[in-house]
Amino acid sequence: MSKRTIVPIGPYHALQEEPEFFKLHVEGETVVHLDIELGYNHRGIEKLSESKDFEETIFLVERICGICSTSHPLACVQAVEDAGNIHVPERALFIRSAVGELERIHSHLLWLGLAGHFIGFNTIWMWAWRFREEVLNILELISGNRNHYGMMKPGGVRRDINKTDIPAVRGLLEKLQDPLKLFRDTVIEDPLIHARTKGIGILSREMAVAYGALGPTARASGVAIDARRDHPNAAYEMLDFDVVTCENGDVFDKTVVRILEMFESIRIIEQCLTKLETVKGPVDSNPKCVAPGEGVGVYEAPRGEVFHYIRSDGSNRPVRHKVRAPSFMNVPTNRETVLGGTVADATIILAAVDPCYCCTERMAVAIDSHGGDELWGARDLIRLSCEKTDRLMKETGWRGPQPPENIFANR
């Protein structure tokens, strides 16, 4: 019988530059159990929120996460609006959807880059982050900020999108098409990426449902849930888009879902811009108070459904504010997906749900080893993962994708 070793990953600087602690129980090279520990990043946002007024709460939840910095506020304002039956002007709805989708593209590109880095494809990492800049430029144009846009408020949005800015936004979106197609072709066709991600970290449909998995993690396993379609909010009822799903639930399918979703996001943004050219009116209904009551707001963040619950007693502060980020449901699925895999693959599997610990706020992974208590850090895991890709490169002779000649022209 082989000896079981615990490989601790974390608590600091593991995989995703955020504090979490995975205890990977391994026998030899095989992961047999995962224990997850959270709490290194717990900031007591829910408690803090009870001391802020409704306007300040939105700024507070915007700072839960630097990447989903519009998803939390959007779900939060919708909870406040549901509690107080506050009307939102139509024009504001389109702006909300447009900003939400821009955030989705930049978040998926960020993940794609990190995923490329973890499997030793630093080229993908650099390309993805380079083109993510374009998206941040659009967001800067619209909101004045590259991140933390400060756009959402109960009753509408803080800033209108100027008619004169729309052609510029369209131009920047147009420029994004080619790089996204490049990523689609690179990832979907590349034999090495297939070798590293296909059949790895499979989350079955049944397990996705049992764990209440959300977003791309669920959709890659064939569970077609999307809060934009199932619980229509912002302007999504008036927009045409597809919910992208795959069947296998492995790392490859999670990647495919995210890449294809970016194309849907561009479609949505273009529709929003067209609507913004014709739909007139205010972008804010200026609610003066929030009536006593309770409300639930959901929004499909890049990682899945964000859930906010607000209770108001008629004062200017929430009595209770519950926040549930998608990673809170997605991270436990790692207990299923890493089992039976190797330590080298654990790196990408643990990253495949696109975990966000500042949102979720502890984890552990187990590996089967021939003895000795080895302590590995994130760097070792990334090194192991990169070595596997190098080995595959030598075996197959494939050197990875090459960019088309004109992709960096005029930039």
């Binding site: 449902v209 049992a210 199932d230 619980h231 959901v298 859930f307 809170f328």
Partner: protein, 152 residues
């Protein structure tokens, strides 16, 4: 299925356990149940209604600690909140994590932040707070004092 049908089906399934039902809008329904009915109600929602467990929320109120289970019926654009109240003296509930693995973490969270004890929870230990957090100090209770905190 239609919201009317859903409400009828839930009401029939709950029987005497249904204390009150409030339809806030055509997308939100709030149902009150006694604490002893939590497990059977959750089974009803999960298995009969095929609802998705979104999350649970605990609120400290004057009357007791309120616990809400939010269930999403995605095909019908409906969120059903099942609500129950436990006393401050004996804040105990049956765990639903045995058959609903999605609820495992949130029950751990509600235990450490609000002090609700979940009977038969498979893995009850701290989730967010540190392992040496003083016993009986619950940050989301209204009687919590900052002086209760451990200074490192």
């Amino acid at each position: 299925m239609g919201i009317e049908n859903i409400i009828t089906k839930i009401s029939e399934g709950l029987g005497d356990s249904l204390l009150s039902l409030k339809q806030k809008s055509d997308k939100r329904v709030y149902i009150d149940i006694p604490p002893q009915a939590v497990r059977e109600t959750s089974r009803l929602m999960l298995e009969t209604m095929a609802a998705r467990f979104q999350i649970a929320t605990g609120v400290d109120t004057r009357e007791g600690i309120e616990v809400m289970y939010h269930w999403a019926l995605d095909a019908d654009d409906l969120i059903v909140t099942i609500r129950t109240m436990v006393s401050h003296e004996k804040p105990e509930l049956d765990s639903i994590a045995l058959f609903c693995v999605a609820a495992e973490w949130i029950e751990r969270e509600m235990w450490e932040l609000l002090g609700i004890h979940f009977r038969d929870h498979p893995d009850m230990r701290h989730l967010l707070l540190s392992d040496d957090w003083p016993e009986g100090k619950y940050p989301l209770r209204h009687d919590y004092q900052r002086s209760d905190e451990v200074t490192p």
